[in-house]
């Protein structure tokens, strides 16, 4: 490769190159500040390649991230995922800091403690302080493991907007059941719900949202991720969780083989990320004290790999499908810096631990120094 990955951004956004900037940590603050810190993690999914995002030919698809977010962000250009490239198992790995080996298409909890369990147990936080908004039933066990000494009762609360939609419509979706089906890779399969998923009646109790209003809003959005973002905004207003994890999934429409829909979904996700950042600025509980981290769970297969079919899937395990990026912005982050050293996606959880003050005891990644 003639150009390094960081050249993508140096040219496009005029950002500085990290490496010599490791000085006093912007996170070195008092205990009071640490208590108030909020972190939002967004998985830019499911699965996007460089060439449709930060590579020169892809930058037209991410105008909001490129022009609005990157100048404020620390950007990590070489984040690799060495685990299993299925969306649920990869997201579970991101959330535990260990490459999980669970069945991607089963509703089972991660084997190792999640970031939510570390956060709540170490910092003695209530369940209302850690939330996950995920697209579909397959993610309903992502909130907590069954690990002894962690596990049930210590995890995050999980909202599945598609599941809510199905419940709220009381089966009236008719021919459009595919809207609430689980994922694009196995579009005809929906695992049974089990675990601590967000129940319909909690719409009103927690989100202060009637079923009617929820359905009325659902009729105004164009995709499941837009519905997720609506739930996220309600959660931020009503519960103000300190640790909020959002899994985007529209991009996985790529499995249908339609390039235009894949690119459309990237553009939508780009817009939603910028919207989320604006919401952070406008919510008093979040403005000024929130760190936002955005990263794809993994990439997709390279066009040239004979074992795959290009953007459609993520089955080959080639470099394009394993290598991706991460953006961090907001509280404690050095803005406009690009870091080109290799790191792994399982480094996220130990980094969150170091940032927020808990110990990710069983995570196998390493804290990212540039964020500390």
């Amino acid at each position: 490769m003639g150009r390094s990955r960081r050249d993508f951004l140096r040219d496009a956004a005029g950002v500085a190159i990290g490496g010599s900037l490791l000085g006093a940590s912007p996170f070195l603050r008092g205990e009071a500040a640490a208590k108030k810190r909020k972190v939002i993690v967004v998985t830019f999914g499911g699965g996007a390649r460089d060439q449709e995002t930060f590579a020169p030919e892809g930058q037209e698809n991410i105008p909001h991230m490129l022009n609005e977010l990157i100048p404020q962000a620390s950007f990590f250009t070489r984040v690799s995922n060495q685990g299993i490239l299925g969306h649920y198992v990869a997201t579970a790995s991101l959330a535990t800091g260990v490459y999980e080996t669970l069945n991607n298409f089963s509703a089972v909890p991660p084997e190792h403690p999640t970031v939510f369990e570390y956060f709540r147990k170490d910092l003695r936080r209530p369940s209302s302080d850690a939330w996950v908004v995920a697209p579909s039933n397959g993610f309903n066990r992502i909130g907590e493991s069954e690990y002894r000494s962690y596990g049930p009762g210590l995890g995050a609360r999980v909202v599945l907007p598609k599941h809510l939609l199905s419940a709220a419509s009381s089966g009236a979706l008719g021919d459009y059941q595919h809207l609430v089906r689980d994922n694009y890779e196995n579009p005809l399969y929906t695992p049974q719900i089990g675990g601590s998923e967000f129940e319909l009646h909690q719409l009103e109790m927690i989100l202060k949202l009637s079923v009617g209003d929820f359905m009325a809003h659902a009729r105004t959005v164009s995709s499941p991720d837009e519905l997720s973002m609506y739930i996220v905004k309600r959660l931020m207003q009503q519960e103000s969780p300190s640790l909020l994890w959002i899994t985007m999934h529209d991009i996985d429409i790529a499995h249908s083989g339609t390039y235009s829909l894949y690119v459309d979904a990237i553009r939508r996700t780009d817009r939603l990320c910028a919207e989320l950042w604006k919401t952070v600025q406008s919510e008093p509980e979040y403005a000024g004290n929130t760190t936002l981290l955005i990263l794809p769970d993994f990439g997709r297969d390279a066009d040239e790999d004979p074992g795959g079919n290009g953007f459609q899937h993520h089955r080959t395990g080639d470099a394009a499908s394993r290598t991706t990026w991460m953006m961090a912005l907001g509280a404690g982050v050095r803005p406009g810096v690009v870091y080109d050293r290799p790191m792994q996606s399982i480094d996220l959880v130990p980094s969150l631990g170091a940032m927020m003050g808990f110990s990710a005891a069983f995570a196998q990644g390493k804290p990212i120094d540039e964020l500390l």
């Binding site: 080996t101 005809l188 235009s260 074992g307």
Partner: protein, 402 residues
């Protein structure tokens, strides 16, 4: 069970030609590692329904492997031997269900972090085989043609972006009778260089009139098969205990007759068409995906000398708010989105063509149907340039193949 325990009677369930082939090479199979043999059997079990190019490739592979010394065998397969499987996977009936075995093996390799090692072993093997078994020379240079953008009135964004550096972009093409010209050119090639499954025409809508010498596959022509498959899948999904693996296994076993195809048809082509739907993701729903995947599979399997693809508008993906508003009606078409799909599909067509023998001599043409834009790739055409010459499709094809 390991390959060294293989017996001829275990292949009683194989179709006749496949069974004969395996029995003939049983001694060889017994020497190979279990991490390799099921991959070979997955191809062999379909031998009776394979295209001539595939059968020749399997024959050549067996012949060459049989000629290797023990030391050479050790060298060729040591990477496979270093990949370990669980006893449970080894006990699976990989003789009769090699494809299902490979799915389980794949999941196991991912979960034990051996996928990269397996991938390396497979790549090394493929490279060795390719070097050791030279390709037969082609009777004529291979040609790929893609007509994209049917139904699009105007489009301002640049087309063929991925292909431009490989060929010449023409912006003054005479579009008149373009499709007819291309179909005639393909038919002429089929007439001049007859070969079973050697010249193809794939259409994402209804096939235009074409020469009977062409192997033709069209989305509309397969509507009944597609509908039967979707009904079959819906019925299977509602069965208790059905999950993604079970559904995949069920679909892999479907035969043309299960989906209402006439038993008097072309058994090889019918199986191919069923597999396009049962193995391709999205082929059942979107015509653009159907054309792209059919093209990929036709090139990979049949290795045609000529392949003309014509993309048609696919159905529009309706946004969530529209679906929830329960506004029914005819499925609308998305011509512009289909053009973007097809532009990428044409790029993949060329990539897949370039994986075949004779790549350095092959030619490729992509045309924005009904418009003046096209791009041609050929050994004598400059790369990364633009031509403003006013040419028709016949002249353009001649330039690419000249």
């Amino acid at each position: 069970m390991l390959p060294n325990s293989l017996k001829a009677e275990q292949f009683a369930g194989y179709p006749p030609e496949a069974r004969a082939l395996v029995v003939r090479h049983l001694e060889l199979l017994r020497l190979l590692p279990i991490t390799f043999v099921p991959s070979l059997l997955r191809e062999v079990i379909e031998y009776d329904f394979k295209f001539p190019a595939e059968r020749a490739a399997i024959d050549r592979e067996f012949t060459h492997l049989s000629s290797l010394s023990r030391a050479q065998m050790q060298l060729w397969f040591q990477s496979f031997s270093q990949v370990s499987l669980s006893t449970k996977i080894e006990e699976f009936d990989w003789v009769n269900q090699p494809a299902q075995f490979l799915e389980q093996e794949s999941a196991y390799l991912w979960s034990t972090h051996q996928m990269d090692a397996f991938r390396k072993a497979a790549t090394e093997y493929g490279n060795r085989l390719q070097s050791a078994v030279p390709d037969e020379p082609l009777p004529v240079r291979r040609v790929g043609i893609a007509a994209i953008g049917q139904g699009v009135g105007s489009y301002d964004a640049p087309l063929f972006r991925n292909l431009r550096k490989h060929g010449t972009y023409f912006n003054q093409v005479k579009p008149e009778n373009g499709l007819e010209i291309l179909l005639k050119a393909v038919a002429d090639r089929a007439q001049a260089h007859p070969a079973a499954y050697g010249h193809w025409y794939v259409d994402g809508g209804r096939a235009s009139n074409h020469s009977p010498l062409l192997t033709s596959v069209s989305y509309q022509g397969l509507d009944p098969v597609r509908s039967a498959l979707l009904k079959n899948m819906d019925a299977e999904i509602s069965r208790p205990g059905m999950g993604p693996e079970e559904l995949r296994t069920h679909m892999a076993r479907l035969l043309p007759a299960d989906l209402g195809m006439d038993k008097s048809g072309d058994a090889v082509l019918d199986r191919f068409q069923v597999k396009v739907f049962t193995e391709g993701s999205g082929t059942q729903i979107f015509s653009t995906t159907f054309v792209q995947w059919t093209t990929r599979e036709a090139l990979r399997r049949a290795q045609p000398l000529t392949l003309l693809t014509r993309f048609a508008p696919r159905q529009r993906q309706r946004p969530m708010n529209e679906l929830l508003s329960a506004v029914d009606g005819e499925a609308e078409l998305d011509a512009t989105g289909s053009l973007v799909d097809a532009d990428m599909g044409a790029y993949y067509h060329w990539i897949n063509q370039q994986r075949l023998p004779g790549a350095e001599q092959s030619a490729f043409l992509v045309w924005f149907e009904g418009h003046k834009q096209a791009l041609a790739i050929g050994p004598s055409l400059p790369r990364g340039t633009t031509s403003t010459s006013s040419v028709d499709l016949a002249q353009l094809l001649s330039l690419a193949t000249g």
